[in-house]
């Protein structure tokens, strides 16, 4: 019966061949570490956010007079409404955490290099969509932080040449952030996740064309690839278990630690809270914005700080495999970059003082300097490594993989790994 149904479908839709090609026999490098789990986790969080979001939207009201009350209605009256909302608000943080780790892994192992540039760029597009979605979603509770966050960020568009003020009014549909803004942010907050799903599909098609990178950075021959199922399905599920434990600790025991207290006060356009900060995942970029003492300059610097990652495939001139794994100079740069991000995040969080602004400026210059200097450093590092010789195990690995590839194609099929 089952086989007849599948046969019927297969004559009309490539179901079995899809499962075979992209799951049961999809060749995956066997040496992937747990850092490769985060793509799957990001996909899981996306589904979680869409699911909780749809059910929250059944109770939410996008109207300035009702939205704050409707959130309280969800938190107090709706069955498990508090759980859905805390899952959604914690999920936003979880999404960024997972995506940032996913990006850090790509940077560390140099996975953005040829032939995976398109994966890196679709990922960059997804990051922008995610940021836009998170930002718009943050307005919806209509608390003080929501309101002033949206006010500040929409005001950034004043930096638009010639039409700055008009663009800001157009974005808001009002002279300040108001009812029109709230309603359109809700509409877009509901729309963008579906664009993200589309983007993820493109990201995955690209992945299945170029296949996963791996910690060695060397394109592995067939003997070192194993089928995705069951090896990586189970590994992804195990990773998911660990992730869910951390996630649930936050959802059930620390949900308010990720929310600003001021957002429990309804939006008041007449009074700005004394200390306004964005959510933690925007802090480094916010610090860069604050470090430039000029509106247009700050906006450009902030935009560039996010977009500059796109240039990585061109900025990194080294052909040594394995990213930071076999490249000591690049590894130092990577860790300095992570530290720099944490410093910027802290500077973005604390209220500005002369001292913190100074630190922020230095960290901002350092942030961009890394990207600017990368082409020279990576080229010099490559020359240095070739002169001193790569670590012996890398040489053996490259040699053995190259030898394997000379085999006839039929000997390199996945089935041969048994």
């Amino acid at each position: 019966m089952k086989s007849r149904v599948i046969k019927w479908i297969d004559q009309r839709f490539p179901f079995s061949s899809f499962v075979k090609h992209d799951l049961t026999e999809y060749p995956t490098p066997r040496n992937l570490s747990y850092w490769w789990n985060f793509g799957f986790l990001a996909g899981f969080v996306l589904v979680l956010q869409v699911a909780t979001g749809i059910f929250l939207a059944m109770h939410y009201k996008a109207d300035v007079t009702l939205s704050f009350d409707s959130i309280q209605h969800i938190m107090r009256d709706v069955n498990f409404g508090w759980l859905l909302r805390y899952m959604h608000s914690t999920g936003a943080s979880a999404f960024f955490l997972v995506i940032y780790i996913h990006m850090a892994r790509t940077l560390y192992y140099g996975s953005y290099r040829a032939p995976r540039e398109l994966m890196w760029w679709t990922g960059q597009g997804l990051l922008l969509l995610l940021m836009a979605t998170a930002f718009m979603g943050y307005l919806l509770p209509w608390g003080q932080m929501s309101f002033w966050g949206a006010t500040v960020i929409t005001n950034l568009f004043r930096a638009t040449p010639f039409f700055g003020d008009q663009v800001v009014v157009w974005l808001r549909g009002d002279f300040g952030v108001g009812d029109a803004t709230l309603t359109r942010f809700f509409a877009l907050h509901y729309l963008l996740p579906f664009l993200i799903i589309g983007g993820v599909l493109v990201h995955l098609v690209a992945l299945h064309t170029v296949k996963s990178s791996n910690p060695s950075g060397i394109d592995l021959a067939a003997k070192d690839n194993i089928p995705f199922h069951p090896y990586f399905t189970i590994k992804d599920f195990y990773g998911l278990g660990i992730f869910l434990i951390v996630y649930c600790i936050f959802v059930f025991f620390l949900p308010n630690s990720l929310m600003e207290p001021a957002n429990n006060i309804p939006a008041n356009p007449m009074q700005t809270p004394t200390h306004i900060v964005p959510e933690w995942y925007f802090l480094p970029f916010y610090a860069i914005l604050r470090s430039v003492p000029n509106l247009v300059g700050g906006v450009v610097a902030m935009g560039l700080s996010v977009m500059v990652f796109s240039f990585m495939p061109y900025l990194d001139r080294s052909r040594i495999p394995g990213g930071a794994h076999y490249r000591p100079w690049y590894r130092v740069m990577f860790y300095l970059f992570v530290v720099d991000m944490l410093v910027l995040g802290y500077v973005g969080y604390i209220p500005p003082t002369d001292q913190s602004i100074m630190i922020g400026k230095i960290a901002t210059i350092f942030y961009f300097a890394q990207f600017v200097l990368l082409p020279f450093i990576s080229r010099k590092e490559e020359q240095w490594l070739i002169r001193c010789g790569l670590p012996p195990e890398v040489e053996t690995l490259i040699a053995s993989e190259a030898k394997e590839k000379n085999k006839l194609p039929h000997q390199r099929r996945i089935g041969d790994i048994k």
Binding site: W82, Y86, N264, L342, Y346, Y349
Partner: protein, 213 residues
């Protein structure tokens, strides 16, 4: 990975700790029914005339398990579904205090420091050298010292007032997050289940991967 998450958690918590006012008196909240009920009693007498709790209805108080007779004393002849609105109109409030007293439903979550802030604020009243009442935590406050903290010099009396303030905070913490207890209870089950499931997945993963060698 775990290390990174740990560092991040640490960062988050240190951010919050750093921002919270260091002069706040940290309190250990009592969340049991008697404490919350005593707090409700104190609040209905001292605060409710001016402050509303618009997201709490009398029905919520009964559902939480408070004494039905007490609740019907508080609500008088209003229906059970009435919210705890204040008796002070906005106009009168502005005339007498210059501002509308804030709604207290979410106050325990709406200040940096949470319940500790509210507690420290309530017991933070003192007499300034000029003979006025001041407040250590919120110097610009327009609220009069309703509990008489500033005038209390006797240690026994002060301890009594502090206990009363603690009860009020217990009630306000419940009002700000009425599902907290339920959330924690469910959380233990969920995390317990996840630990078991993850352990099983770990064993299965090792078994499946042992096929390769």
């Amino acid at each position: 990975m775990k290390k990174l998450i740990f560092i991040l958690v640490l960062c988050c918590s240190s951010f919050h700790a750093g921002a919270a006012e260091s002069k706040l008196e940290q309190i250990q909240l009592e969340t049991d029914l008697p404490a919350v009920e005593r707090g409700a009693d104190a609040l209905m007498n001292a605060c409710h005339t001016c402050h509303s709790l618009k997201y709490i209805t009398y029905r919520d108080l009964v559902k939480f398990g408070m004494d039905k007779k007490k609740v019907s004393d508080w609500r008088g002849d209003q229906p059970l579904d009435t919210a705890l609105t204040s008796q002070l109109s906005d106009e009168t409030a502005i005339q007498s205090y210059g501002i509308v007293p804030p709604d207290l439903s979410l106050i325990a979550k709406a200040r940096e420091g949470g319940p500790s802030y509210v507690y420290s604020y309530l017991i933070g009243y003192y007499i300034t050298p000029e003979g006025m009442t001041g407040n250590h935590v919120f110097p610009e406050t327009r609220m009069p010292d309703m509990m008489g903290m500033s005038g209390a010099t006797d240690p026994v009396q002060r301890a009594e007032l502090q206990a009363k303030a603690r009860d009020i905070v217990s009630f306000l913490a419940w009002a700000a997050d009425p599902h907290e207890e339920e959330r924690h209870k469910l959380g233990y089950y969920v995390i317990g289940y996840l630990l078991v499931l993850t352990a099983m997945l770990f064993v299965v993963k090792n078994q499946i991967w042992s096929r390769l060698k």
